[in-house]
Symmetry: C2
């Protein structure tokens, strides 16, 4: 296969060095299975992607497209005997149209790079996964990535207007439109977004932009328990507030950040809620004032709006640092359940009980304003027994989320780790609809096979 | 077929009276072909819908689901020898969850009834097609209906969280979720929305709600030409303004409304732009002030914010009355192209030239803030030659919209009238993807066959 690809592609595109192939054969999901790939192709154009897809079709070889590999579900892990199609080299912003408020980018453009590029024009690309300094727009599209600001601004799918895709039959097609509305045919763009590369390889993305919002006003609440913090979230929703961010960071995260960066946070609070309002004019101040009331009403030990932008930035920095701070302690298995707002407090309480039951540390960061929790199951390096307990806890968390009316994945995708969860969440007839759609658009079954919903 | 259905359904559900069947065999699209249906079923439950779908599968009979029949593309027109499944009797609001901000409704709930129902709880269902006093949520879902406020708040698809669907294989399935985020599997909900009943029959809809916004502040601009109005729209976009409505009404509409209601509008202006800002606090005032500057900068003969709510309401009433006022003059063929904001002025100018070329009256109302134009081709009753010219003009408008980077349908759907346009807009490979998805989910081809993209 590598020889076939070498003959058809420019020099340097096909890599078979085992170390490089191995390094590009997985994302950041711990303990997800990784197949052995026969080659990596570093594509530089849509035409090259098409050559790769057509070669895979001819040879019946599976194809896994990848961006930065920051995924947390194993969605970009290599498939045995397959080709890895690395798209991080297709990293150009092709166009920004200020009037239509859209940008056209290649899939390898890094999220933060796009944000910086359009910020210079006072425009904004909202979806902001925690991986935004590294993850690519193509990867964000594959997983329908969320982030901190989706509680107000929505997720990646809400911003994708059009796609260029190499299909499962090797054709290059354009889906979607450049107008702000349109109903000409099925929503194939929305179908491709979040399909984790199982229905086509995305080679160009047209995204909506918005005017850059004000920096906003930040409010903070300290709580003695996750239950009280959950009650505060419920009160915020009941009050009809629309924060642009509402994040939770628990004591495990605060301690880990302190141990690393000595920010002195864990002495202050057991659980922190962070909110940001970015409305125009005085509405942001008013929102912050009202959410502080919600925090206090739910029993915060301290709650106030941030006096300075620096203080606010420090707290959000702590939130961003929580994941790498925990990773310093050992492998972190990341959960991604999403539950109704009214069930957040109960879900957090159940996660605490799950941690006790399985004798494992479970830290919590959460996009709590939309019920999307990220329990982080921390084990020590090389502690095999703890890993077994962590996997059992992972399954219990999924079961609890479904029991409370939630979903097994809010924004990370199914990949490999959530396949059993998906089978529990979706009815057999719905899984069969998935398989029918997969067969319709990838009849040869070469596109990231075995991901999302298992073998067709 | 009617006998089979009568045996399996409660008394009174199956109607074969020719006048009733004929009355329920079409929507409001003029000149779209209508087949002869063999029966109408007035379903009252999901179980009854499933009985009908299964009977149609057994007998190989086409099935067309319909709501209020307010569509403008022929999407709900009967198929020869088929069954009409009337869902307007499934009209209950099943649940409103104030905390999660969602409602669960049957497909026959009228849009305005849902809005009134949730407004009592200070909640809001934004999508507001002009048909909202009559059209049903099920029909809105089928066409992915837009409306006046989508320039700021998005379209129907943006508000559909979950669906219950009777599939093309006769199964009852639940798609989607109740959480605000979720990526568990393909976006089959988004795929069903806007599919015009060709991929499943929707029997229950879970929609997102928002807090009811302030009434807002209205601003008005009078212009001497559509070109100047188009320039004003461009200036509004360039200024980064986010109105909750930005509507255009031209002289033909103003005259028709005056002839009917004597509102004295056509003496004032050739073209009116209406904007509404519903931001919190002073931001709405500020938006209105800034858009008035945009209007004046583009050469308005008069522009100002409305002094009273009554005045604002009168102007929006005139916009709503434009379509029925024109219908008093004769059959109105409604266009629905959507173009980039920067192309609005040029598109309006081309529409004027098309009207001249084909010697036909083309009035314009437009959701101009998102480039969605509704040229209204007015003919006299019984003037066959004018109808021929109107159809030629209809085709020219589609060609111009595509030439300017637009789409053939912004919010009305493809139905029958836009099938040729769709073939011009989408590449053959993309149409084939549509057909593959259709075959995957409706393998027997019984669901509204021949609509959207033609026979499979």
């Amino acid at each position: 296969m590598a020889e076939v690809l070498r003959r058809r592609l420019p020099a340097g595109r096909v890599v078979t060095d085992p170390d490089i192939v191995a390094g590009l054969s997985h994302d950041q999901a711990v303990w997800a299975p990784v197949g052995r790939a026969v080659a990596v192709v570093r594509a530089k154009s849509t035409a090259e992607v098409q050559i790769v897809v057509r070669a895979c079709l001819e040879q019946g070889v599976p194809l896994v497209a990848r961006g930065a590999g920051t995924g947390l579900s194993g969605g970009a892990n290599a498939v045995e005997g397959g080709v890895i199609l690395a798209l991080d080299g297709m990293d150009r912003v092709l166009e920004v149209d200020e009037l239509e408020r859209l940008a056209v980018v290649q899939p390898g453009v890094v999220n933060d790079d796009l944000r910086a590029h359009v910020a210079a024009l006072d425009l904004w690309y909202p979806p902001d996964p925690a991986s935004s300094p590294w993850s690519t727009i193509g990867g964000n599209v594959a997983t329908n990535a969320g982030g901190v600001c989706c509680v107000k601004y929505g997720v990646t799918r809400d911003y994708v207007l059009a796609l260029e895709v190499v299909t499962g039959t090797g054709e290059v097609v354009r889906l979607g439109r450049r107008t702000s509305k349109g109903v000409a045919g099925y929503d194939l763009v929305g179908l491709m977004v979040g399909a984790e590369g199982t229905l086509g390889v995305v080679t160009e993305i047209t995204v909506r932009l918005r005017p850059l919002p004000p920096v906003g006003v930040t409010a903070v609440g300290y709580f003695d328990s996750v239950g009280q913090a959950g009650d505060a979230v419920r009160a915020t929703a009941a009050a009809g507030l629309r924060p642009a961010a509402l994040e939770l960071v628990d004591r495990h995260c605060l301690r880990a950040v302190d141990a690393w960066k000595n920010m002195g946070l864990s002495a202050e609070a057991d659980v922190v809620l962070l909110a940001r309002f970015d409305d125009e004019g005085r509405a942001a101040e008013e929102g912050a004032r009202r959410i502080v009331d919600c925090f206090r009403g739910a029993g915060s030990t301290w709650a106030d709006r941030s006096e300075t932008a620096e203080e606010a930035e420090m707290l959000f920095a702590a939130r961003r640092l929580a994941f790498p701070a925990l990773e310093r302690l050992g492998p972190v298995l990341t959960e991604d359940v999403c539950v109704p707002i009214g069930a957040v407090a109960e879900m957090l309480a159940r996660i605490d009980r799950t941690a006790e039951k399985h004798r494992i540390t479970i830290a919590n960061i959460a996009h709590v304003g939309d019920g999307n929790l990220h329990p982080l199951l921390v084990t020590e390096h090389g502690d095999a027994a703890a890993q077994v307990r962590a996997r059992a806890a992972f399954d219990d968390i999924i079961a609890d989320a479904l029991d409370l009316g939630g979903t097994v994945t809010g924004e990370h995708g199914v990949g490999l780790l959530k396949r059993p969860g998906l089978t529990r969440e979706l009815a057999p007839a719905v899984l069969e609809m998935h398989r029918e759609v997969k067969r319709a658009l990838d009849p040869a079954g070469i596109l990231n096979p075995g991901k999302v919903f298992g073998p067709a």
